[in-house]
Symmetry: C2
Subunit: 341 residues, 2 copies
DNA sequence: ATGAAAGCGCTAACAA
DNA sequence: TTGTTAGCGCTTTCAT
């Protein structure tokens, strides 16, 4: 049978309380006592029973991570980091997928997890500020992603305007002038990346050309490909650069360009967003905005911990990002390998 | 405060036991009683406390899923399915990553999770049959992946020999004769995919050419690219087809071929293994062996459930797969789009 | 600084 | 068929 706290106490010749004190790092324990207890723990091979601990502490011991889909590489990578950050707080992570379904997203806000979890890290695709504001569930919540939340809950983000601006400026620095965007539309409220796109162009005195902007309704490669197909069919002269909302979309865009006989980056330079693992395996490798995912995860978990301790002023938490330049903007004929690889 | 079982009982005017019976689907409950209790549950908004339930039941309520890396798309996708299958058994999934580190893999066998979990789904990259046989931890264990396990534990797999055979036969059916393999080596014990490769060639009277086989030491795209570079540097005539151990490796191989001025599939057809989500976004889209991941996950979780109920004859559990044909073997100049997309 | 004992919310003998 | 009650293993007042 598995050793319990009492077994350790018996072995060390002390009470359960003392063992508990040692385990939980209570300060007022003599060094000798601590050593004796630790030895006993080691001898009997004690491991705390988390169900019992959580029951006694009145917490669930787990948090929910709600993402659109785990097999979307950005979220896979993000989840990885959340798992690591949560583990340090003694939390197990219950991953839930919404598959971009508005109903499922609403269920999260409605308390679908009941009080089963100590907190929720939520990356919404559909629900907006109003729905979030009106939620009744009191479970600590932290939001991720580009959608604005107007201070209704903690929100961990990168500065999407600045990031998009940086990506587009990079294209302009390369001498490109007809810079398209897949994934807009420009001007609709809250699309920060579109804002950065427009800002970068405007600063150089280039007007935003609506013909060079095609919105997509999901982040899938297929959508990106179709969008690029549509744009090319419509234009007499193709763009000389494309800024894509996500890397996955960018991969589809590159497919489309390739199938239309356009070379990347020679004819058209392409920048993505997210820096998914595949950006180094694609042909050409993909220039992309790389958000500091580890920081996103860390801040999200820290937010939940703070909320659990009573903190309750919703905060906007900003984390870093960088532009990683690879072949899709820097290569010659797709045959050179830049250092960034 | 969160409603408890007692609150439901009070509301319904019955005892806790009756409520518990209803919740746990005990058979001998009158319809009227059941309805009354369900109504009460609904009225007070009761949700069971899992810590308490698990403590009382003497189980942890969670299983561990140990994979090399969650942001490798095959494992991301697999994890997604495991989450779903486990949820149906009332299990939360604690995902752990080994990053292919032999030490971490051994820690899993040594009981790093203590008795913290009710079972372990383990996808090993390094540890072998012997180490698994010698483990002392009694936690139910089920293994995934190609590595053979000689009946030391439950093992969920596809028939890797048949799958590789199918992939290579497909290449031969296309008229290719110099079929290379990235990820061997042929003949080393237990590499089922290599076996299938050799079998398909032999059946057609083609000898395995050692010059056309290059092993890789990880499944990363970079490795595949380097391996293909090496092969091309060595050969006077390039192969006309390549069978790759994984899709990720295949992406790297395609990069290498492209950078050497070889067209896929015109000059060289490429088949991957795993059918990761990106195989439809790459240029060209990737022909691949697609294991029935949902079945893998389902069987793995079922295995743990069976072991927990006392079953203990290690079983080899086989699940299905299929070959998905896409542009990397079927396209013309990479410009045609086959129906398989 | 350490010990004794009362819960945490649920399940499952055992009774009725 | 339904009720009573003793744990499950841990934390945590409250004493000492």
């Amino acid at each position: 049978m598995r050793p319990r706290l009492q077994d350790v106490a018996d072995r060390a010749g002390v009470s359960m309380k003392t063992v508990s004190n040692v385990i939980n790092g209570y300060v007022h324990v003599s060094e000798a006592m601590r050593a004796k207890v630790l030895a006993a723990i080691d001898e009997v091979g004690y491991e705390p029973n988390l169900s019992a601990r959580n029951l006694a502490r009145g917490r669930a011991g787990m948090i929910a991570l709600v993402v659109p889909q785990l097999d979307m590489p950005y979220f896979a990578s993000l989840s990885m980091h959340v798992l690591e950050a949560a583990e340090k707080q003694g939390w197990v992570v219950l991953i839930q997928q919404t598959r971009g379904d508005a109903e499922k997203e609403r269920a999260v806000l409605a308390g679908r997890f009941g009080q089963r979890v100590d907190g929720i890290v939520f990356s919404p695709l559909r629900v907006g500020t109003d729905e979030i504001r009106q939620r009744r569930d009191r479970t600590p919540l932290v939001l991720l992603g580009e959608r604005p939340v107007d201070g209704v809950a903690d929100h961990v983000v990168i500065d999407n305007v600045a990031a998009a601006d940086l990506a587009v400026s990079h294209l302009l620095d390369l001498g490109r002038r007809r810079v398209a965007m897949i994934g807009g539309p420009v001007g609709s409220t809250g699309t920060h990346r579109s804002e950065g796109y427009a800002a970068a162009l405007t600063r150089r005195g280039i007007a935003v050309d609506p013909d060079l902007v095609v919105p997509v309704h999901s982040n899938r490669g297929e959508e990106g490909e179709a969008a690029m197909d549509a744009m090319l069919a419509r234009l007499d002269t193709p763009p000389d650069a494309v800024f894509c909302m996500t890397d996955w979309v960018a991969l589809g865009v590159i497919r489309s360009l390739h199938l239309h006989g356009l070379r990347v980056p020679d004819d058209v330079a392409v920048v993505g967003f997210d820096d998914i693992p595949y950006s180094t395996a694609s042909t050409p490798t993909l220039t992309s905005i790389s958000p500091d995912r580890a920081a996103v995860a860390r801040e999200a978990v820290a937010s939940l911990a703070a909320q659990q301790k009573g903190e309750h002023e919703p905060r906007e938490i900003e984390v870093g990002f960088e532009l990683v330049v690879r072949e899709s903007t820097a290569g010659g004929a797709g045959l050179r390998r830049p250092a960034g690889r």
